[in-house]
């Protein structure tokens, strides 16, 4: 499948321990086979758990202007309490895919496309909150289609190795995300 846009930008954000960086890395690695230029910028505070965590990805056919973006096309936000903070982090007409649990967000901007997803609830039923990152990534992949989802699955397999239980959980969570994405698009 030829990717649709020549540049895909994504900020994945949440709280340390939610697997924000893992989700970003999967996309970066997968994007390498389809895009000439890929950049991945992690950004985090000192705390490994509990502090804010985000990463910025740019996949492009052209040289990436800046790996640091104050505004990106899309944001996947795993921590609903940060929604207001990230309102300004989207380009005009951008999309925010945000965790629905605990979400209390009245955007001032009228140009945004905000998509709440009950990822956490579903994740709890699939092995725990820790797989929410892949559910939400799946939603993004289905809605924005930067590359074929299979490429993400390949990277997840490579990273998870032969920890079969974990691999199954990860696969199931990502595929669930794709399903949720299709439901949204419909």
């Amino acid at each position: 499948m030829q990717h649709e846009a020549s540049t895909a930008e994504l900020i994945v954000a949440g709280v340390g321990g939610q697997g924000v960086l893992f989700a970003g890395q999967m996309l970066a690695l997968a994007g390498l086979s389809k895009y000439q230029y890929v950049s991945y910028m992690p950004s985090y505070g000192v705390e490994k758990r509990g502090g804010p965590s985000e990463c910025t990805l740019v996949l492009s056919d052209e040289p990436v202007a800046s790996p640091i973006l104050d505004q990106a096309q899309t944001i996947v936000l795993l921590d609903s309490s940060q929604a207001k903070m990230f309102e300004g982090r989207l380009r005009p007409g951008g999309t925010m895919i945000v965790e629905k649990t605990g979400l209390d967000f009245q955007p001032e901007r009228t140009d945004l496309n905000v998509i709440p997803i009950s990822g956490l609830e579903i994740a709890m039923g699939m092995g725990g909150a820790m797989v929410n990152n892949l559910i939400m990534l799946g939603v993004y992949m289905e809605l924005m289609k930067p590359i074929e989802p299979d490429l993400i699955l390949k990277e997840i397999e490579k990273k998870t190795g032969d920890r079969t239980e974990l691999l199954e959980r990860n696969r199931a969570a990502f595929n669930k995300g794709l399903e949720l994405g299709r439901a949204v698009a419909a």
Partner: protein
């Protein structure tokens, strides 16, 4: 598409060095470049090369001096307070006419400062922080690919001029991952190091010992230095050769620009994004990016002034490059400045962001 790997900036330092034929790395841990020492510790022994973690940064730089004097391709890597400790060593290396590569991954200073990124070392790398006023080439990459490629260029230039070469990274490009082609580059061949100190048996046709010394007493050049003045002339000549032959810069969207931004390192990437947004609004702005900070492309900067363009210097510090830019334009145009007090947040994770740069462009134009 060419074969590419996703590589972290700090690790591109290592890949570039290895592709340049690095013989030894001597270093000491310091944030934000610990990936460098850790990669070398893991990978150099596998490749039959030398790795030593020294007891301090002054230890590391004096080890570099030894390896360099013995004719090998050697390097170290550091940041902030570690770089402060290396100033004496730099002064010796520059004075002794020996080649080496030093990577500095800039962090917030001065003193202990912050372990996060900044661009606060422009002054000391271009002026020489150790005694005596020596000069050395400073390469300023702004992407992971450039870090990799500039490492190889650095080793080549170091050997070409028998002088230390600095590669100036920062805590942003050091920590990002980008798609990189990890390819060894070709350079013009250079003469053998016929001055390397390796024991008299290695140069039996020479009656005298070889002597490397950071003063006129050095017998490194066959013609010798008969007095201090001769040594200074030689040094001055080398500075001029480097300044004339090795200056590098590039422009982006410069053709019809009314305002030219001057920026290097991670900030130049941010500015590229800001320029794209500005151009979409019809604002005529371009970028002049120095690639060598020393020698600085003062001529190219001056040309912008000659074309009647205003200049905006953007750097993540309190004002360093801007002074050199003002010098270069010789008062012919207005030089604006945007620095680290304009970061997007006051904590040490703050950065100069495209939105802020765009604001400044709009204000000026």
């Amino acid at each position: 598409m060419t074969e590419r790997t996703l590589v972290k900036g700090n690790e591109a330092v290592c890949w570039g060095a290895v592709n340049a034929g690095l013989d030894a790395f001597f270093g000491y841990p310091i944030t934000p470049q610990n990936e460098v020492i850790e990669w070398f510790a893991r990978e150099l022994p596998k490749r039959g090369k030398v790795f030593v973690q020294s007891q301090s940064e002054n230890g590391a730089i004096m080890m570099v001096y030894g390896g360099a004097a013995a004719g090998f391709r050697v390097m170290t890597s550091t940041a902030g307070p570690g770089w402060s400790l290396m100033q004496e060593g730099m002064s010796h290396l520059a004075a002794a006419d020996v080649p080496c590569v030093i990577v500095i991954t800039q962090r917030g200073g001065p003193g202990q400062g912050s372990i996060r990124h900044a661009q606060m070392d422009y002054n000391n790398v271009t002026r020489g922080g150790g005694a005596g006023g020596y000069k050395n080439i400073v390469l300023a990459p702004n992407s992971v690919q450039e870090i990799h490629d500039f490492m190889q260029l650095a080793f080549h230039l170091a050997d070409k001029y028998c002088n230390p070469v600095l590669v100036l990274s920062d805590g942003v490009i050091g920590l990002i991952l980008e798609a990189v082609e990890l390819k060894p580059l070709e350079f013009e061949p250079l003469p053998e190091k016929e001055w390397a100190v390796k024991g008299r048996d290695t140069h039996p046709e020479e009656m005298m010992r070889r002597f490397i010394h950071s003063s006129p007493a050095s017998g490194k050049f066959r013609e010798g230095y008969f007095h201090y003045g001769a040594w200074l002339e030689h040094m001055d000549q080398r500075h001029h050769q480097m300044a004339e032959a090795e200056v590098r810069s590039e422009t982006y969207q410069a053709e019809d620009a009314e305002l030219m931004i001057v920026a290097f390192g991670y900030v130049s990437r941010v500015c590229t994004e800001a320029i794209n947004r500005a151009r979409a609004e019809g604002l005529k702005v371009g970028l002049l990016r120095p690639i060598t900070l020393w020698p600085l492309d003062s001529q190219a900067i001056r040309e912008q002034a000659d074309k009647g363009r205003q200049i905006l210097v953007i750097e993540d510090n309190l004002g360093q490059l801007v002074d050199d830019v003002k010098c270069a334009v010789e008062g012919k145009t207005e030089v604006h400045f945007l620095g680290m007090l304009s970061r997007h947040m006051p904590t040490d994770g703050g950065m100069i962001m495209p939105g802020r740069v765009l604001e400044e462009i709009r204000r000026i134009l």
